[in-house]
């Protein structure tokens, strides 16, 4: 594979917030490379520091220590004015859209161009094109209050693209949207990434979002990067507790867990093995039943995956053989402590 060029580099980024008595450190020494043209996911539980991290990328939050580079330019060394100029090449969208409520969709999209000094006629022309790109030409003259959540986010995306940024930062961009609308917005982001080659960073607490559009993902836990890798890798065999929690129980509340159940294993079937009745054959072969506790399939960039939480028989010998049987058939098997 060719050497990948970094679009964003974080080097030793720490962020501390001074409180009344002491300071809390929200990000500990983060090193991160995000490559040109990829869709990179950052996932973590609430309070992990995701928003803080993404805000450190465009310096809405100045890192306490460490460096941030955008396409080779060290943002952390720039003065306010140069930084503002660099920000024209980074778009950002938010969970709550943050549109100008007193301006039409068209004026909202023109806004960043107005700020960067693009002549009005040109800004208007480009804003119309962008609204077309996000599928909102008809609602050009609507005010945000007249638009649905999904439409508002589309306006926000068009606005973020107005200054032809190299990077698009999305902080929980779909968290306020229903599943259908979410799917629409995500495919729009993917489309933008493919058509315009814009590097996209997606912050979310939902693994499903990552699976739909990201190529790589970092799991953030308590201000540290717990795991980083391709989405497929992380999904197939998450190495950390948080990773497992996010992959197994995406979006579900902890209370819904059954608790500790013995002999539980998580199995991941690759799409092509789904045709063959592996589980059925295995049970026939060893004459013992396994208990299916949960199961689902996911579409990930690399293909279709099915995951199941299985409870194996108590008999250690049979259990061992069954696991080996599955592993021989390229099924990932991993013990889990809780369900």
């Amino acid at each position: 594979m060719e050497e990948k060029e970094a679009m964003i580099q974080l080097r030793g980024v720490c962020k501390r917030f001074p409180q009344k008595k002491d300071t809390i450190e929200v990000l500990h020494n983060i090193d991160l490379d995000i490559y040109k043209g990829e869709i990179f996911g950052i996932i973590g539980l609430s309070g992990a520091g995701k928003s803080t991290l993404v805000r450190c990328i465009n310096l809405l939050e100045r890192p306490t220590t460490g460096q941030v580079f955008l396409d080779g330019v060290e943002l952390t060394s720039l003065g306010e004015k140069e930084l503002r100029a660099q920000r024209h090449s980074m778009g950002m969208i938010f969970q709550q859209f943050h549109l100008l409520m007193q301006k039409t969709a068209l004026e909202n999209v023109m806004f960043p161009m107005k700020i960067s000094g693009v002549p009005k006629a040109k800004a208007q022309e480009r804003a119309k094109e962008l609204l077309e790109l996000v599928g909102l030409s008809e609602r050009m003259l609507s005010y945000p209050a007249q638009l649905s959540g999904g439409q508002k986010q589309r306006v926000a995306i068009a606005r973020a693209l107005a200054t032809e940024p190299k990077v698009l930062l999305c902080d929980e961009a779909t968290s306020a949207l229903d599943p259908n609308t979410t799917a629409g917005v995500l495919s729009l982001l993917k489309d933008i990434n493919e058509r315009l080659g814009i590097t996209i960073i997606v912050i979310t607490h939902e693994m499903s979002v990552i699976q739909k559009i990201c190529s790589r993902v970092a799991i953030l836990d308590g201000g540290d990067i717990a795991e980083i890798g391709s989405v497929e890798e992380i999904f197939r065999s998450p190495k950390t507790q948080v990773g497992r929690e996010l992959v197994f129980h995406d979006g579900e509340k902890k209370e819904a867990y059954v608790g500790h159940v013995p002999y539980c294993y998580r199995t991941v079937f690759k799409g092509d093995s789904a045709n063959e009745p592996i589980l059925g054959n295995m049970m026939i072969e060893y004459g013992a039943p396994v208990n299916i506790l949960s199961g689902n399939t996911r579409n990930i960039k690399g293909g279709v995956f099915g995951q199941m939480i299985l409870q194996f028989p108590e008999d250690a010998e049979v259990r061992g053989k069954m696991i080996q049987y599955l592993r021989d058939r390229k099924v990932e098997v991993e013990e889990v402590e809780y369900v």
Binding site: M90, L100, Q102, K103
Partner: protein, 219 residues
């Protein structure tokens, strides 16, 4: 009910009150609008924090606002004498109105601007907007409906002040109410004045509310 002369007197007073109120409101905004903007910008969570400056202005404004208007009116008479040349009449009263209303308007403007969603400001910052651009292109336009409501409150409050200024020879409806109603015990006149003042307040308030609602695109 009234003779011709009285009617003329009331008409004149009515215009005087209107003049005092509008002129004072205008100048109160000339001072209060930038001051309110400054308070918002320099706030510790503002777009260009200068905490010490913010504190100083905050204290001055609070100080002036805590002095009851009538006392302020009398207290600044020496200054009025120097600036206006006299301490009676609508012009003299306008200065006191201005001193009292400027800080009041500043606070109104401040609270309107602070109503603007922080997230929108942040979005503008993420696009590389300067503090000046954020003020002129985000905060002021987004706060316009609220600023208009504040304007109605300012006008009606200043109208109330102007009536009080009537005591000190400022003329206007307040003066008539005091001179005829209070000193001469002519209750009828006083009630007419009250009704007139109430009407003016209603008109301004209603107008302000309507224009504000009409300008607001949030529905």
């Amino acid at each position: 009910m009234f003779e011709q002369g009285m009617l003329l007197l009331v008409g004149e007073a009515f215009l005087e009150t209107l003049f005092m109120t509008l002129v004072s409101t205008f100048f109160a905004y000339v001072i209060g609008l930038p001051l309110g903007m400054l308070l918002v910008v320099s706030d510790k969570d503002g777009i260009y924090p200068i905490v010490s400056l913010n504190k100083i202005f905050g204290v001055i404004i609070n100080f002036i606002r805590s002095v009851p208007f009538l006392i302020l009116l009398v207290a600044i008479m020496p200054i009025t004498k120097i600036v206006v040349g006299t301490i009676i009449g609508p012009k003299a009263a306008s200065l006191a109105l201005l001193v009292a209303a400027g800080p009041f308007v500043a606070r109104l403007v401040e609270s309107s601007l602070k109503e603007v969603d922080k997230g929108v400001v942040e979005a503008a910052q993420s696009m590389g907007a300067s503090p000046f651009q954020i003020m002129t292109k985000v905060l002021l336009p987004e706060a316009t409906p609220s600023l208009l409501l504040g304007f109605a409150i300012a006008v009606t409050t200043i109208l109330g002040y102007s009536a009080m200024a009537g005591i000190c020879g400022a003329g206007g409806l307040g003066a008539i109410a005091i001179n005829y109603g209070y000193y001469r015990g002519d209750k009828e006149i006083m009630y007419v004045m009250v009704v007139l003042l109430v009407l003016i307040v209603q008109v301004f308030q209603e107008l302000g509310t309507r224009i504000s609602r009409h300008s607001d695109k949030r529905m």
